[in-house]
């Protein structure tokens, strides 16, 4: 342990407050509970520690060793080597993003480029320097809408096909506030309903309507009608989008989204068992002063040179703590950099090709699975790189069976949507899944049908 104070400094401090030794500071703790004996093994060497932690880590299943069809918000995409090598440069690799323009032009320029790329991708005017992840970005959209209407509109409509964890996060953020949430109550059947079912819920007390694009089940909807209905009632529309899909799909800004958020993980950020990820947040210029988070702008310094600085900081909590839209200004600087490098490497056409590849592979997988007896695709809607599969047995059992064959199956929809959906598996396919992998998945699923039939025959 590193203790920055010397013995004489500590002595001086103790003398100043009139205490003899450090232990005296703990007099308020009952003697019996003071300094308990800790049952810890003795220290080990660095080499031993590395081996021990390595052994613990290797117990994790990961997408390097398994064939993965698991998505549901976090996707297994290829991360080009250049992403990591730029990320790990000492100038960028810091625990706390430095913003002082005098010494952080590189960081600020990278963030400015990130914002520009996100704005272009989403069809919005302005992007902030990011939030923690896709879930908190949605929660900040709700916050922003509430602040925009100065608390006078208290209703929030969440699509049941918005990621269940995002909806939970919104509920956590708004708990204790006058905001009430509707649209995703239990007992619904989101796979057989589309965004139209949300329209009757929108009224003049509605601050914001939040949908996902593609939605949690991978489906692609045109939200134009919903957008018009929201705007007619004076409400805002937020769209939580998959950035890879935006390489192919119409940007949400074009069908009237006021806020576009997204999970930036697919843009060059490894799965890493759940984080750190990247919360994307973009909006129209008219709402910029109500947007939470950091914002980097381009300006000219006193020598006439192009320079980057934090801008519109009066919005933020460090100037107006109680009036700020959000009290969270933390961003994911390093992850935003990863996304910037990734998007720059791929370019507009590369991102489109990648999205097409995802689309094609997923559709190949879906058509193969749909041809298996007992299996069907859960929805007839257009989809991107993910789709719900109705299985002949519970999805959890399908996943167990797949894992025995080295396949990380899909997401068990029964977890969030109840027993009605226990046979539904959400399957994601990315560029990482070679045709052989998809064929392997299909053949293992076929074994399940055969085994089922066999059981039926023997029982029959």
């Amino acid at each position: 342990m590193y203790i920055p104070h010397t013995d004489s400094e500590r002595e001086a401090m103790l003398k100043t407050i009139g205490v003899e030794k450090v232990e005296d500071l703990f007099d308020d703790v009952p003697a019996g509970h003071r300094f308990p004996e800790l049952n810890l093994p003795s220290g080990i060497s660095e080499m031993e520690a590395a081996q021990e932690f390595g052994a613990i880590a290797s117990a994790n299943e990961n997408t390097r060793d398994l064939v993965s069809f698991l998505g549901a918000g976090a996707y297994n995409h290829y991360v080009p080597a250049a992403v990591d090598s730029i990320l790990r440069r000492g100038e960028f690799y810091t625990a706390y993003t430095p913003y002082q323009p005098e010494l952080s032009q590189g960081t600020l320029q990278a963030i400015f480029e990130y914002q520009s790329l996100v704005a272009a991708l989403t069809g919005m005017d302005v992007s902030n320097a990011s939030h923690y992840d896709g879930a908190t970005a949605v929660a900040e959209a709700v916050n922003m809408a509430y602040a925009h209407f100065r608390g006078k509109r208290t209703r929030v409509v969440l699509s049941p096909a918005l990621h269940p964890q995002y909806r939970q996060t919104v509920r956590t953020y708004v708990s204790g506030s006058p905001i009430s949430i509707t649209g995703d109550e239990n007992g619904q059947d989101p796979l057989s309903e589309g965004p139209r079912s949300l329209i009757p819920l929108i009224d003049t007390n509605t601050a914001i309507v939040v949908v996902q694009y593609p939605d949690f089940f991978g489906r692609i909807y045109d939200y134009t009608d919903l957008s018009e209905a929201a705007h007619q009632a004076g409400a805002l529309l937020a769209v939580s989008a998959n950035p890879i899909a935006l390489g192919l799909l119409t940007p949400p800004g074009e069908f009237g989204a006021d806020i576009v958020t997204g999970e930036g993980q697919p843009l060059g950020i490894p799965l890493s068992f759940g984080g750190p990820y990247l919360g994307m947040f973009a909006t129209k210029k008219e709402y910029v002063r109500k947007m939470a988070g950091r914002l980097v702008g381009e300006t000219v310094d006193n020598r006439g040179q192009r320079a980057y600085v934090l801008t519109l900081t009066a919005r933020e909590q460090h100037i107006r703590r109680e009036k700020a839209t959000s009290n969270i200004c933390t961003n994911q600087g390093l992850m935003a950099l990863a996304a910037t490098v990734y998007m720059s490497l791929l370019g507009k056409n590369g991102l489109r090709q990648l999205a097409e590849l995802n689309y094609q592979k997923a559709h190949y997988a879906a058509s193969q699975i749909a041809s298996l007896p007992g299996f069907s695709i859960g929805s007839d809607e257009l989809f991107f790189n993910e789709f719900a599969v109705r299985c002949p047995i519970p999805a959890s059992e399908v996943n167990e069976h797949l894992l025995e064959h080295g396949i990380l199956g899909g997401y068990d929809l029964g977890i969030d949507y109840g027993p009605k959906y226990e046979n539904y598996l959400l399957v994601a396919v990315t560029e990482m899944n070679a045709r052989e992998e998809i064929d392997l998945l299909v053949s293992v699923l076929e074994e399940i049908t055969l085994a089922e039939r066999h059981t039926e025959v023997t029982h029959g």
Binding site: R150, R289, A314, I319, R320, K323
Partner: protein
């Protein structure tokens, strides 16, 4: 610095001009000078709202600071200067005229007695600066 005689003033640098029971409210020349270039203004109340003395009625942002504007008196908001949001710089050029913020039908005229006259306000500023 301009401190018109016919107005009443608050400690927070707001002014109010009374005409037939209705008060027009804005921020003072001194306030705009302190804030420097004003780039944004948002009026937080709408016509028909009931407000109380001391309520926050607007937010003003300059290149170097953000400030809240408080109601000098309570009452019913009868007009809001909708043009102001599109021309925040008029708060610098014309704080007592073009850049008025809201008009309020004053509920309790007694509240006006708690405000300063031009002389009192001038003294207050000079004390602060002295």
């Amino acid at each position: 610095m301009n401190v018109p005689n016919e107005l009443k003033y608050t400690q927070n640098d707001e002014w109010i001009k009374m005409e037939d029971g209705t008060g027009t409210i804005g921020i003072t020349d001194h306030a705009q000078e302190q804030l420097s270039d004003i780039v944004f203004v948002e009026i937080l109340v709408t016509e028909g709202d009931t407000i109380h003395q001391g309520d926050s009625i607007a937010t003003v942002e300059s290149v170097k600071a953000a400030a809240d504007v408080y109601a000098p008196v309570g009452g019913t908001v009868v007009a809001v200067n909708e043009e102001l949001a599109n021309a925040p710089e008029t708060l610098n050029s014309s704080p007592y005229d073009t850049a008025w913020m809201i008009k309020v039908e004053v509920k309790d005229l007694g509240e006006l007695d708690k405000l300063m006259d031009a002389g009192g306000y001038t003294n207050k500023i000079q004390e602060k600066e002295g």
